[in-house]
Structures are given as structure tokens and as C-alpha cells.
């Protein structure tokens, strides 16, 4: 496969302008002496052009693979010190003591998974709800501004989310939301003292706000792309609007929706700045979600720029590697989920 790629001389992707606005080569219709001649010309070279185009696309796809491989190699090489010193224990140890050179990643892995899970639990229903409302229910006039607004959320820098969370969201949670949660759900043990406002739950909430635009915008696009014939067919059977949405739209769009959730999850796993400002930054595994925790991305961002000795630096980079591995596992689980969700039904409309 590799020699074939080298055989085809194609311009490097970075030199190619966006295909949306300008296809890489070939004549344009409409101008010039004869439309038929142009058509024939383009047809004559089409076999070669098609192959070239195909390989160009493959090359770009492989670039992604190359980048990830490069980053993974880089991380592995630069964390050799801790890999050889702690081995697999690194991922199951819970001590984090830079002064005495003891490092374990478990509390960070736990914090990342739990805060991302909270974010998904809050964000997914809301995001799908918004998408349903915008595509299926709201008046035409509102549709543009509403979808624009949700995308606007994606444009807010994460340091701003963080500062806003510290000064507005955290006091709100501490004074009003957490006491209610403690009263209603305190018996589960997930919501118990101490209530600082800052903690795993606050991190989950700010993450959910941050991943909402990703999930809802993409869900909305996927739902819009479901052909009208599907909706009309279900309506013609006498379905209510909700039944039409459920059977005609959501069912057809579900792979796309799962895809957008995975994208949102990816962002939640890797989010750094805002999480670090509200999660409490305490490397401990505590059952209560109101207690402070720590996440992998946060510890790297927090300590990387000040880490002085090599072992410490290597431990932080291995955390990056651990995050890599966790993302791989989470994505594998997500693939499984997609398979379960789509089993036994036509996957796509077309």
C-alpha cells in the first residue's frame, strides 16, 4: 500500500486550498469555447484524476493516523523514566508525591472519567432536546438565531468558562444547588459533605456547558439531513409529532447522534483550563461527587510548566500517555455502544 501512495504525485495537503471553495484541478464548466469539448476532456482524464483524488484523500486520512502515532511515540519516549521505574503500577497507584518521587495516576484517571460522565449525563439529554426543538418544533424565524446561539457557546475561551465558573457557577452550586442535592440524594452517598462548591460535580457541570454546543449542533445537522420523506411517511401513518420525531428522525439519525456524543466526550476528556479551575485539584478518590477531585489533563497543565526534575516531568508526560490509553478504551466502548444501538435495524436512511 505504501509504495502506491508514493507513486502518485499529488500536491501536499497543506498546499491544497479548501476543497469546498476550490477543487484542486480540472476545468470549470460554463466558460471557454465548447462545453461538450470540456466535458469530454474532463472525462478522458477522469480515470487518472479519480485515482489521484482517491489517493489524496487516503493520504490525508493517513495524516491523522501519522499525527496520532507521532504524538504517542513522543509521549512514550519522553516518559521512559517512569515507565521503566513504575511499570504498570503507575496506572494503579494513587500516591502523587513530586517531592519524594512517587507517582501514581489512578486518582487522575478516576477524576477524568467521573467528571466526563457527569458532563455527558447532563449534556446529552439537553443537547438532543435542543436539537429536537430547533429542527422540529420551533418557528422558522427562531431557528437561525437559536442554532447560532448554541454554537456561540463553543466560541467562549475555556479560561473564560473557568473564571466565570469560579466567580458565578461555584457560589451558585454551593449556596443553592448542592444543598438540595444533598437533601434529596444524600442517602446515595454521592452527595455528601463537605460542600465547598468546588469539586467533581462543579467540573462536570462546567464541562457539560462546554460540550453542549458540540453535541447539539452536530445532532441538529444530522437531524436536518434526515430526508423529509421519512417524516412525511410516519406522519401519514397518523403519528403524533413526537412519534414522528422518535421514529422518523431520531431513529434514522442515531448513528450520527452517537458520533456527536463521542466528539463531545473527547472534548470533555481533554478539557483542561476550566476543569482545573473548579475541580478542587485534590488527587483522591472519594465517593461523594461534591468532594474535590483531579483530572489527567488538569494535572499536566498545572504542573508541567513548573516541573523541574526529569522523573517528575516524565511522570506528567506518562499521564498524557495514560489519557491516550483511556481515550482509546473509552472510544472502543463507544464503538461497542454504536454496534449495540444499531444492531438489527437499518443503519441509514439511504
Amino acid at each position: 500500500m505504501n509504495f502506491k501512495i508514493q507513486d502518485v504525485r499529488v500536491p501536499g495537503p497543506s498546499e491544497t486550498p479548501s476543497p469546498v471553495s476550490d477543487p484542486p484541478s480540472g476545468p470549470h464548466p460554463g466558460e471557454g469555447p465548447s462545453a461538450i469539448r470540456k466535458f469530454l476532456l474532463s472525462r478522458g482524464s477522469s480515470a487518472f484524476a479519480d485515482r489521484g483524488f482517491r489517493w489524496l484523500m487516503v493520504l490525508c486520512a493517513l495524516t491523522i493516523f501519522g499525527i496520532v502515532a507521532l504524538i504517542a511515540t513522543e509521549l512514550t519516549l519522553r516518559s521512559q523514566l517512569t515507565i521503566s521505574k513504575f511499570g504498570i503500577k503507575f496506572f494503579f497507584g494513587s500516591a502523587w508525591d513530586p517531592v519524594n518521587g512517587k507517582f501514581g495516576a489512578l486518582p487522575f484517571i478516576y477524576g477524568t472519567l467521573v467528571s466526563s460522565l457527569i458532563a455527558l449525563v447532563i449534556a446529552v439529554p439537553l443537547a438532543v432536546g435542543v436539537a429536537v426543538f430547533i429542527t422540529e418544533m420551533c418557528p422558522r424565524k427562531l431557528r437561525g438565531p437559536l442554532s447560532f446561539f448554541t454554537e456561540l457557546l463553543a466560541a467562549i475561551p475555556s479560561v473564560v468558562y473557568g473564571l466565570w465558573a469560579v466567580f458565578v457557577l461555584v457560589p451558585l452550586l454551593r449556596e443553592h444547588v448542592n444543598p438540595v442535592l444533598m437533601k434529596l440524594l444524600g442517602w446515595t452517598g454521592f452527595f455528601s459533605e463537605p460542600n465547598f462548591g468546588i469539586g467533581m460535580f462543579a467540573a462536570g457541570v462546567i464541562l457539560s456547558i462546554m460540550i453542549l454546543p458540540v453535541i447539539s449542533s452536530l445532532t441538529r445537522e444530522v437531524m436536518t439531513a434526515v430526508p423529509h420523506s421519512q417524516r412525511e411517511a410516519v406522519l401519514a401513518l397518523g403519528a403524533t409529532r413526537w412519534e414522528m420525531i422518535r421514529m422518523g428522525v431520531l431513529r434514522n439519525a442515531r448513528i450520527g447522534i452517537v458520533g456527536s456524543i463521542i466528539l463531545g466526550l473527547g472534548r470533555a476528556l481533554g478539557e483542561t483550563m476550566a476543569v482545573t479551575m473548579v475541580i478542587g485539584n485534590r488527587p483522591e478518590i472519594v465517593k461523594s461527587l461534591l468532594a474535590p477531585g483531579y483530572s489527567m489533563a488538569s494535572v499536566i497543565a498545572n504542573e508541567f510548566s513548573e516541573a523541574s526534575d526529569d522523573l517528575y516531568l516524565s511522570a506528567l508526560i506518562e499521564i498524557g500517555l495514560a489519557l491516550f490509553i483511556v481515550t482509546i478504551i473509552v472510544n472502543a466502548l463507544a464503538q461497542l455502544l454504536v454496534w449495540v444501538v444499531t444492531r438489527g435495524a437499518p443503519a441509514r436512511v439511504n
Binding site: G12, P13, S14, A95, W96, D97, P98, V99, N100, G162, V166, F167, V170, P171, R174, F196, G197, I198, T276, M277, G280, N281, R282, P283, P292, Y294, S298, A301, N302, E303, F304, S305, E306, A307, S308, D309
Partner: protein, 331 residues
Amino acid sequence: MFLAAALIVSAASQGLAQKLNGAGATFPYPIYSKWFSEFSAQHAGVQINYQSIGSGGGIRQVMAGTVDFGASDVPMTDAQIKDSKVKIVAIPAVLGAVVPIYNLPGVNTELRFSPDVLADIYLGKITSWNDGRIAKDNPGVTLPGAKINVVHRSEGSGTTFIFTDYLSKVSPEWKSSVGSNSAVPWPIGIGAKGNEAVAGMVRQLPGTIGYVELIYALQNKIQYGYIRNAAGTWVKGSIDGVTEAAASVKNMPADYRVSITNAPGKNAYPISSFTWLLIPNPPRDGNNGKVLKDFLNWMLDHGESEVTALYYAPLPKSVSDKVRVTLSQLK
């Protein structure tokens, strides 16, 4: 492909101006950016760009040779000096202080913290505000029985280094069980990112204690406490107290790598520290090295007089005289 593109970019024009880059500590960023801006206005064609990427980052960048100079709140370790391919000269620039801030509604007098009490609060051994040992240092103050919420910095920082360096000097238990570094395994408390966020947490949450650079306490108008220094005087963080701490250091080493926490001076503020500029010697580029040397002399002649306006402490005369000698020996 990236490399090819990078080469094309490298071929792009190089400016005529003398452009220097420096990186490092966050704490002195405001005064450095002020100095470099003024120096550039007074010296046509000279631009010294300083970015605050953190002390550890500053040390690593200057060692890797990606910048013309570095800056750090934490002295370079012996291992780093050994690893570095170029010789790096540390020049003290200004001084700073770390103060214990607290939020205790109903208490209007300024609290006093003796060194062992401060250490035991951060060790989690003193857990409520009306603990007998706090009360002993603060006679006549009615202390509430509230639980003490401890806040510390979450990210590695020079501030944490200074604070834990101090606690290690005054508490043997702290030294053996926690130690000093820019990030430590805190026995208790929650971590907030940056001086600003620590100040924010303390302001929001009653019963909270934290530590920040002096200027953050002043700017945020948060109460901060007295500390008993090595001479037995109760002192409050102040610019004069910091400069006195630096002046009271006996036998200043030639490489200026010295901790001035718990300094012996009568009114010396005990949680103080230098912050250093790290100059590669010989320089990465001859012309840039000359500019840097000019700047350092300018800093001693003019720069130091401007620092108190931004609540930094200037170098004491004994130190700046010594620095002049060091500068004259730079290549």
C-alpha cells in the same frame, strides 16, 4: 511535509531590529513587561519580549537554548546546573513576599500566626479556628468555632515553593512528611489555580485560609496575618520587611542561589524570596548578549527605583552592588 513548510517559513525575512526573547516566572511578569517596554522605548530597535510560562518552563527553555534568557522564582537545582550545556548566570531582579490570607467573619483584628501554628494548620493538625494554640497567639480576640478550610495553589508555582520552603524550615514534621517544592503532596485542603483563584476562594468561603503573593492580598483587599519571624518580632508582609530579609542574609553566595525565608533580621519578613533572571554566559548570540548586559545595568540604575509602585521589593544595596560586579564579568 511540516518540515518542508517550516523551511519555507524560515526563509522568510529576518527583521533588522534586535529582537530578544525571554521566558519564565509569572510572578515578576508585570514589572518585567514594564521594564522591557520602557527599555525598548529608550533604545530604538531593541525589543525584549518576555512571556510568563512558569519558572520551571523558564529554566528548561534557557537550558534548551530556545530563548535568550530565562527567569525563575525557584533557584536552579544542582542537577539542572550539571545538566545544562551552557553556563547559566542567575541575576536577582526583585523580591517578593507570600502572605497568609484568611476570611473569618466577625473577627476584625488582624490575626497572628506563629510559624508552628501555620505549619500545623496546613498539616491538618489544627482544624478549628478556636483552637487553643491560635487563641494563645491572639489574646483578646474572640475566635469562632468554625472549621478551617485550607486552600493552596493547584499548579506548580514559585509561590508554593517559597511557602513550603518556609514551612520546612520552621516545622521538622512538615519537612519530613511534605517537604518543599513548586508542587507538593498537600496533606489537606483544596487546590485553586493561580493567586487570583486562591484569593477568590478565600474571599468567597468563610473560615478559609490561603496563601498568596503580597500584591494579590493588597489588590483584593483581603485580610492577611502577622507572622513571628526568626528574631521573635511579629511582622506583617511589607516591601521594607522583604528588603530587610534580603539584606540580612550573611555570606551571599556568588551564584545568588540562596533562600531568604526565615531570615534573621529584626524586622525581616520571613516568607520572602528573590526572583532571578537566568542569563546564558556566553550568550546565544553576541549582539543579543550585549543588549541583555545593557539592560541589566539599566535595571540596576533605573529599573529598581520603579518596583515599589507595583508592590515589589527592590534589591538591597548590598546585593545590587554585588550584582554590578557579576555583570562586569559577563562575556
